[in-house]
């Protein structure tokens, strides 16, 4: 470089690719999505995009399938997140013990997080196959069930299978976060509690749990938001079926755009999801006062 760029110029230069990318890949798609939600768009006739005001939104809000999807999304999210939190905390507590070889477990238990969702959905379909799946076989042999369960072809069982998949895949995330927090709790606190006469359960209730509360709240909110909007886990496992019993909002949007060729409606559903997401985040921020300095003594 013959000419010297000022510090400021170099700084801006380095930022440029990011700014361009953010504009192209973040801002533009969202703006486009919002625009699309106000037109009628059939991908097979791309030049015809009549502006239809809020028709798409009305369509969505009046569609019983939308509300069914919404309800199912709540069920699927609520149960999954609860299970992940409880199991996650339990596992983290177990992994926090100073036992030999505990690190091997940590590595292995993190594994589900990196497996491609497709692989897991395929495996699940095979595992839970009604006729020749291994899960039915094991449960029958153990005497837990008396006849083979149709895991993926009845609405309730399909939802259960989907929840199970979600729990399997994402509990490790909860474990990591909780375990990291556990490791920052000073052991002297537990010593003091022992001297005060507190037993193991009291120590958990009065020392561990309050300190985990903050971190758990964050994790639960994040998991809720992500789970609510997840597409692949359900689509690849059940295609939303049987029928539409495992639809959630993401599937609904996809279905409208791809299957029904109503991209405008799909976009509108997407925007509704976005609004819900923002509302949820704001609620969380308001409830917990995110960012307030909360350093423990």
């Amino acid at each position: 470089m013959r000419f010297r760029l000022s510090d400021r110029q170099v700084g801006v230069l380095f930022m440029l690719p990011l700014l361009v990318s953010v504009a192209l890949f973040l801002v533009w798609p969202i703006v486009e999505a919002i625009r699309l939600s106000f037109v009628r768009y059939n991908p097979l006739r791309p030049d015809d995009q009549p502006f239809v005001w809020f028709d798409n939104y009305l369509f969505v809000l009046e569609d019983p399938l939308f509300w069914e999807s919404f309800r199912q999304a709540l069920v699927w999210t609520g149960i999954s997140t609860l299970a992940q939190a409880v199991i996650g905390v339990g596992l983290a507590l177990l992994l926090h013990q100073p036992l030999r070889g505990i690190n091997a477990f940590r590595g292995l238990l993190l594994f589900p997080y990196i497996v491609p969702t497709v692989v897991i959905a395929l495996n699940w379909r095979w595992l839970f196959n009604a006729e020749i799946g291994i899960v039915n076989h094991l449960l029958l042999s153990a005497g837990i069930i008396s006849e083979r369960v149709a895991w993926l072809s009845t609405p309730d069982m399909a939802m259960a299978s989907a929840i199970l998949l979600n729990v399997w895949k994402y509990t490790p995330f909860v474990v990591i976060v909780v375990l990291a927090r556990l490791q920052t709790i000073p052991t002297e606190l537990y010593d003091a509690a022992k001297v005060d006469g507190a037993g193991a359960i009291r120590r958990f209730r009065d020392i561990t749990l309050p300190q985990l509360a903050e971190v758990l709240a964050v994790v639960v909110v994040f998991r809720t938001i992500w789970t609510f909007n997840k597409f692949e886990e359900i689509y690849l496992l059940t295609r939303g079926g049987p029928g539409t019993s495992t639809y959630n909002l993401a599937l609904y949007a996809f279905d409208q755009a791809m299957a029904n060729l109503r991209m405008g409606v799909g976009a509108a559903s997407g925007v509704i999801m976005l609004v819900l997401l923002l509302a949820g985040s704001l609620l969380y921020i308001r409830l917990t006062g995110f960012g307030r300095e909360d350093r423990a003594a």
Binding site: L189, A192, V195, D196, G199, D206, I207
Partner: protein, 365 residues
């Protein structure tokens, strides 16, 4: 009130033997300090007494009661930790009363006792606050409050002052001493700071590498150290320890005879100890002095430290008044106060008996 009796206590962590067959008695109502460098085992000993660790061998008794199998909650002890270990999610009142709460003390009684303790410690106005809102000194008072409220038989303190700045530490030293005098509870205190040990204790237990080096009052460990370790550890600036010889019953340093007789049966090689406060400057050639060259001079306020090299790599530090001046490389001599000379056997490190050290040429009393 309770004394603490420890017999044959050993503790190993894997292959690391931290405590080796320790015997110790802490008399009731006394303030006893476990003093020693890092890793000497003092904290481990404290934790064993508390019940936070289990001994590998040996027994611990509080009075007549054998406690080494009991969990900490049943030993009727209280502990103040180095970082105070206040429960961060509870307010001060709950922190102090937690031990009572766990034992099912009714709320009204709890509130009363917590209030009484808070009044004594002058922290009534802090009862509603959380630990993170308190200063270091306030936190320590809360920790003390938590220890006091259950009226335990024994207080255990693990370096509670080391997290404070120097000024606050000095103030808190006095407060803790008063605290002990007022309550009269047996207290076992751990520190590596000999100043704390000397100013606060009734008894000092000097430890090194898992073994008790000496037990005595602060005066005893200062004036009559039992071995080289204690001699070098206690006292600021540290005691001078220089090689000496026993020549025909007379102690000599670098060939210069001193007006001190070696005790009967002393070995030929000796180590001589003398505190800088007991070393004075003299003119070279005076009888009973050791000549040398000024190696270093340091002014420490109202005193001056003069380090004199009496032989290659052998230096003696003298503490003199600041008004006494000296320049580097001056030819000087040092006089060692014969009454304050300690002699040690280099092989065992043990101090040789003091009474037998006689001044040669001293006039009869």
């Amino acid at each position: 009130m309770t004394d603490v009796a420890i017999r044959g206590l050993s503790k190993s962590f894997g292959t690391n033997r931290v405590l080796k067959a320790l015997d110790l008695t802490v008399p009731s109502r006394q303030f006893v300090t476990l003093l020693g460098p890092s890793g000497c085992g003092k904290t481990t000993l404290l934790r064993l007494i508390a019940g936070l660790e289990q001994p590998t061998e040996g027994e611990i008794r509080f009075g007549e009661r054998r406690v080494d199998g009991l969990p900490p909650g049943e030993r009727n002890i209280a502990m103040v930790f180095q970082s105070y270990a206040l429960y961060p999610t509870m307010d001060v009142a709950r922190n102090i009363g937690y031990g009572l709460e766990v034992r099912g003390t009714p709320k009204a009684e709890r509130r009363e006792r917590v209030g009484a303790v808070a009044k004594v410690l002058e922290i009534l106005h802090l009862l509603g606050r959380k630990p993170r809102e308190l200063s270091g000194g306030q936190r320590q008072r809360v920790a003390l409050g938590r220890a006091m409220v259950r009226k335990p038989d024994i207080f255990l303190m693990d370096e509670p002052l080391s997290n404070l700045d120097a000024k606050l530490r000095a103030a808190m030293r006095g407060e803790l001493r008063r605290f002990h005098l007022d309550l009269g509870t047996t207290t076992i205190y751990v520190t590596h700071d000999q100043l704390e040990a000397m100013t606060m204790s009734d008894l000092v237990v000097v430890m090194n590498e898992g073994v008790v080096q000496q037990i005595g009052t602060p005066e005893e460990v200062y004036a009559r150290p039992a071995n080289l370790f204690v001699a070098g550890f206690i006292g600021t600036p540290p005691m001078n320890l220089i090689p000496a010889r026993n020549e025909g019953g007379r102690v000599t340093v670098e060939g210069h005879p001193l007006p001190v007789a070696a005790p009967a049966g002393a070995p030929a090689e000796l180590i001589l100890g003398i505190r800088p406060q007991d070393v004075s400057m003299a003119t070279p050639g005076e009888p009973g002095t050791i000549p040398g060259k000024v190696w270093m001079v340091e002014l420490i306020g109202s005193e001056r430290l003069i380090e004199v090299e009496i032989a290659p790599k052998v230096r003696v530090t003298a503490e003199v008044r600041a008004s006494h001046r000296a320049a580097l490389d001056d030819a000087v001599a040092v006089r060692l106060d014969p009454a304050q000379i300690h002699l040690f056997d280099p092989a065992s490190g043990q101090a040789l008996p003091r009474e037998a050290v006689r001044e040669v040429g001293a006039r009869p009393a």
